[in-house]
Symmetry: C3
Subunit: 139 residues, 3 copies
């Protein structure tokens, strides 16, 4: 068994940007030559998350609406008083979504469903440079 | 260290069916002969999730009510316009719950609490055949 | 590759106590001597969770308010009828937060952001003795 650490670096647009990173992870897996194991996808930072959903325009809009409903951007947050950057809602969305996901792979292929994409969720209220750790463990 | 991939296949009833799969995972662990490591439980597909809770009728009812409150089935979703299958709410519930869970084990036993069961959550609005990947890594 | 299992044991105050355990995990990592791999953090029990957020007083207050909004403590739950301990809301919060988190590490250091702490969330309505499994896998 071995461990291969790689990075996916990308620029987000802020404001609820949802980015399909499935292809980046599949490329890292192919490059590693590993056949069986799991890939840990972890976004560094406290205002982004990693999730999975069917990546199509309708559901992208639904997910944005959902996050706005459970953690509204217009609401006052105590965190905003601490830093003055008005992104308390971003932190809450990131915490509830979680920064990581682990996907098993077999025969060199992630065991995702056809309509199950891995998505980087940018919750911050401004564009950000993001680093996603892609750690492959297997044989 | 080695990796053992197994599957749990089951038929769900749809409509918020919550199924305790702790016994299936424990059986896969026992069969593998591994003593120390972790088990990755991953459901394939974008309208189901893996979670943990105390599996008893009262809490099962509470969890269904909770999901109905945060992502109501009667609400219109843009996703429904894409496919016409009216299960936008299912996708949102699956995304927020997450498709996977990793549980450590030691001396051949998962380190779960007594009232902490691993649950497959069927969020789709119709019965489905589900495949759950159970990947054991350890020694 | 090897696996090192350790425990963090701590006493919580109940009532939504949020405890930064990043230092405890970093200490376990340092003690293991591992350089590259991942750490699985798993809380035993069905009324606590593991999450990440920027651990500062403003956001701690925001997170408590968020949990109270999505799963209110004053609401009646069917689970309360089962046991009579009135903590149905605790179980729901724990289920949606999740009991575990996996963080990659490299050169002996967890790849967390500067403002990204690992937090034990006590959701129960009374003080509890908690056991958190810290399982390090790597080389």
């Amino acid at each position: 068994m071995k461990i291969v650490n790689t990075r996916v670096r990308l620029e987000t647009k802020g404001a609820g940007d949802l980015i399909d990173i499935t292809g980046d992870i599949a490329a890292a897996l192919a490059h590693s030559g590993l056949r069986t194991g799991s890939v840990l996808v972890f976004v560094v930072g406290s205002t982004a998350g990693i999730t999975t959903f069917e990546y199509e325009p309708g559901l992208i809009a639904d997910m944005k609406e959902f996050y706005q409903r459970i953690a509204p951007s217009g609401k006052h947050h105590y965190h905003d008083d601490t830093w003055g950057d008005a992104n308390g809602f971003s932190h809450i969305r990131a915490s509830i979504t979680g920064p990581s996901l682990t996907v098993p792979f077999e025969e060199g292929r992630m065991l995702l469903g056809t309509w199950q994409q891995v998505v980087l969720a940018e919750f911050d209220n401004r564009p950000r440079a993001r680093e996603v750790i892609v750690q492959l463990t297997g044989e």
